[in-house]
Symmetry: C2
Subunit: 239 residues, 2 copies
């Protein structure tokens, strides 16, 4: 099965389960405090490239990813796109909004999310100090991630950005797979995250492969063969 299909099948298979037990795999620590929201949440599915919400939309809901992946991005009038973040199972999004969403959210592949009305979030936040703290923490993490992203875009080379990206992904991923990373996103998505062109992403990947730092079993997986080398590349080691 193909990626799209595989991804989705995995989804389909696990989704019911996850939802049933009401827990999430790479549980964010945020989950515990926000658990009561599950009771007022709806499970929704989106297909590849489907829009979950647009920049400027009323922020009526917040979301948690159960299975699959989502990109949140800005698109300029002329079509140039910058992805701010990739969201994976367990991640929350749409909690940080004010009146309107400041970003567009789209499905990277088939996705299962839990959607919860923001008024519930807000009420819970008013009533339960611990929820407040959790939401604050969530926001702080987003901000901190954005700051790291700024350094990447402003001051790292293409090679370094790609290495950093893979390492980031590795940190967020279950260690179950050894050092195999699943990439729910396409090359163009990676390019739009890293502020590069798709060709440059390909070339950087090929280069790392040639140097035996990674292998690429298929277009939706990357295996890290030499973690130290990859870290060295991310930190700017010459050649």
């Amino acid at each position: 099965m193909t990626q799209a299909l595989e991804h989705h099948d995995a989804l389909a298979r696990h989704a019911a389960h996850e939802v049933a037990v009401g827990s999430v795999p790479h549980a964010a620590s945020a989950d515990d405090a926000l658990f009561p929201l599950n009771a007022v949440s709806t499970v929704l599915r989106f297909g590849r490239n489907q829009t979950i919400f647009n920049e400027g939309d009323d922020a009526r809901y917040s979301y948690k990813i159960v299975e699959g992946g989502v990109r949140v991005c800005k698109v300029r009038p002329d079509g140039r796109r910058q992805i701010a973040e990739f969201l994976l199972p367990g991640d929350l999004f749409g909690f940080e909004a004010g009146e309107e969403h400041s970003l567009t959210a789209e499905a990277l592949c088939n996705v299962v999310v839990m959607r919860c009305p923001r008024k519930h979030v807000e009420r819970l936040s008013e009533e339960v100090p611990n929820v407040r703290r959790t939401l604050m923490m969530l926001l702080r993490r987003e901000l901190s991630a954005a700051q790291d992203h700024l350094v990447m875009l402003g001051r790292q080379s293409a090679r370094e950005r790609l290495a950093s990206f893979l390492l980031q992904l590795a940190e967020r991923t279950d260690s179950d797979n050894g050092d195999t990373l699943d990439l729910p996103m396409g090359r163009q998505d990676i390019a739009d995250f890293l502020g590069l062109t798709i060709e440059t992403v390909c070339r950087a990947l090929t280069e790392l492969k040639r140097e035996r730092v990674i292998t690429i079993p298929n277009r939706h997986q990357v295996v890290i063969r030499n973690m130290d080398a990859l870290e060295a590349v991310a930190e700017g080691a010459e050649v």
Copy 2:
């Protein structure tokens, strides 16, 4: 009065005054709710390039700028620097931190700040719903600004970045001066904010000057002569 001399001297001269009256010129709307903090704040002065706090420091205080300017940035082990934000009079910073500051804050020029212990911020935040909302809003704004910055670094050319930067400054500045912008930061700071080199910043400035979009009376001021053209450049108009 003039500017560079102006900048520092103006600072020195005005600082006492501002502090004395205990009010801030371009008051952020956030100020009202947080006003009680002024009572527990200390006035501090920092000289050009002095560090206010470092990334990783315990976040014991939050700050408000009274006069001058501050940069908050990340510095990589090899010295590459990315400025996340410039802070101007009225701006708050150090409110967004968790246990530690995630960024380094340094004075752009002589600066006067009010410093307030975070435990007071936190207590007030627990007790007064309006303060909570204000702090949330502050965080959301920072996040949104960071997201816009990401688009700039990832998807705009040098020219476009510089134009966007000037427009950003123009929006934040009192309209008192007409279209004259004060730049408390040096060229290298601008470069580190835009993810460029100092030379590229200079060249882009010179180019805009040659095209009569701006004038540069001195190194700490820029006058916008043709706002429409500047906006067009920022949006990516061809040459």
